[in-house]
């Protein structure tokens, strides 16, 4: 087969056809995967909310509200059991991680104590900082059931009450920073 000549018209037509076909194909792919992607994202978030809060029977995802505190915007997911508030899940973050941002989901009970925390996203060093994940070590368990009112949310090296992950003081500090952010936001009007 003879190659097509590289004339201006030929090139324009070819590129036009190719990009048009590609965009149509991508449009279809996007439509096709839109629903499953939303479901997957929702499932991941709900799983985190479920983990950090006690039993509830509303849809916290639909009652989401946000609150801007000190230039940071945090998202709140209130959970209710028969219309009574049983806890609030707060999506919080810190940029003090050893490498990149860390995102946490913190569950706070109406009395202000922390129910549980899970890590949504992090890029900490495997084997060191990633021990903040529940599956990797017991680090996050020490936060369960404490009330930051009488528990200093900073690592022991800094005079606080938190046992840092061995050799990962920076990651531990960042974790505390994120939890603190959630708690402060909760106190400063995030509570509803």
């Amino acid at each position: 087969m003879a190659k097509k000549e590289s004339s201006f018209v030929n090139m324009v037509i070819t590129l036009f056809v190719i990009t048009l076909t590609a965009s149509i194909a991508l449009g279809f792919a996007y439509e096709f995967t839109k629903a499953p992607i939303a479901v997957a994202k929702h499932a991941a978030k709900m799983k985190a909310i479920n983990e950090v809060l006690p039993e509830f029977n509303n849809l916290p995802n639909e009652e989401i509200y946000k609150k801007a505190i000190d230039n940071d915007t945090l998202y709140f997911y209130p959970a209710r059991e028969d219309n009574k508030l049983v806890g609030t899940a707060i999506e919080t973050f810190t940029n003090k991680g050893f490498s990149g941002n860390i995102k946490l989901m913190v569950g706070i009970l109406p009395d202000g104590s922390i129910n549980d925390i899970v890590v949504l996203e992090h890029k900490e060093t495997p084997g060191l900082g990633d021990k903040m994940s529940k599956s990797k070590s017991d680090f996050s368990l020490q936060f369960q059931g404490i009330n930051p009112e009488n528990f200093d949310l900073s690592v022991k090296n800094d005079g606080g009450d938190v046992d840092a992950i061995t050799a990962s003081t920076i990651s531990s500090r960042a974790y505390c920073d994120a939890v603190n952010r959630a708690y402060n936001a909760y106190l400063k009007g995030g509570k509803k």
Partner: protein, 195 residues
């Protein structure tokens, strides 16, 4: 052309990673475990196969001067499709690989095969070439991921057989380079014997 030879060249004689040294950036980044490595490898294989097929079908309609932009658009479309599919059906793998999937577009292996092979060969040869190169790439990522996971985390396919932490270095980037170096050394030895 002998199709069997055409297929297996991707594994040994022209292995993308160990012999041609193509596409090293994503493979060094993702091979912290076998699952990640193989996931990346299969995603690349899919893109490679599809782009080889499309390129070989349309090769005679594309004027020479715009062939590279055309190939890139074709490849990028397939990469985006892979990204969307993975996000929808394999969200946990996507979380691990997410950053590296768009990088398949600039993986020299994919463009290299489109330019050097699919645009010059028949449909069958291009399919075989795409499959062979892609699976050879996957094999390389499997070994790299396997060694790094065993040494670095003391586990294989997520199954932990050594309690505690492994040798952290192998999970980090320098470990990827060191492992790759030794695997290349092994590959050279194998290729020397069979040649």
């Amino acid at each position: 052309m002998n199709q069997w030879k055409n297929f297996n060249k991707g594994f040994f004689r022209e292995n993308a990673v160990f012999v041609l040294y193509l596409g090293l950036c994503p493979i060094l980044g993702v091979t912290t475990s076998v699952i990640n490595g193989v996931g990346m490898g299969l995603a690349t294989t899919f893109v490679l196969l599809m782009s080889n097929i499309v390129v070989t079908l349309v090769k005679s309609f594309i004027p020479d001067k715009v062939r590279i932009p055309s190939f890139i658009v074709i490849i990028a479309s397939f990469v985006t499709i892979v990204e969307l599919l993975m996000q929808a059906y394999l969200p946990s793998l996507f979380n691990e690989l997410g950053l590296f999937i768009p990088l398949i577009v600039v993986n020299c292996l994919v463009l290299g095969r489109a330019e050097a092979f699919a645009s010059k060969n028949t449909f069958t040869s291009s399919v075989v070439d795409g499959l062979g190169m892609g699976l050879g790439f996957t094999m390389a990522l499997f070994f790299l991921g396997g060694v790094r996971e065993i040494l670095g985390s003391g586990s294989f396919l997520g199954f932990k057989f050594i309690p505690g932490d492994g040798i952290l270095l192998f999970i980090l980037a320098p470990g990827a380079f060191i492992t790759l170096g030794y695997l290349i050394m092994l590959m050279n030895k194998i290729n020397k014997k069979t040649a």
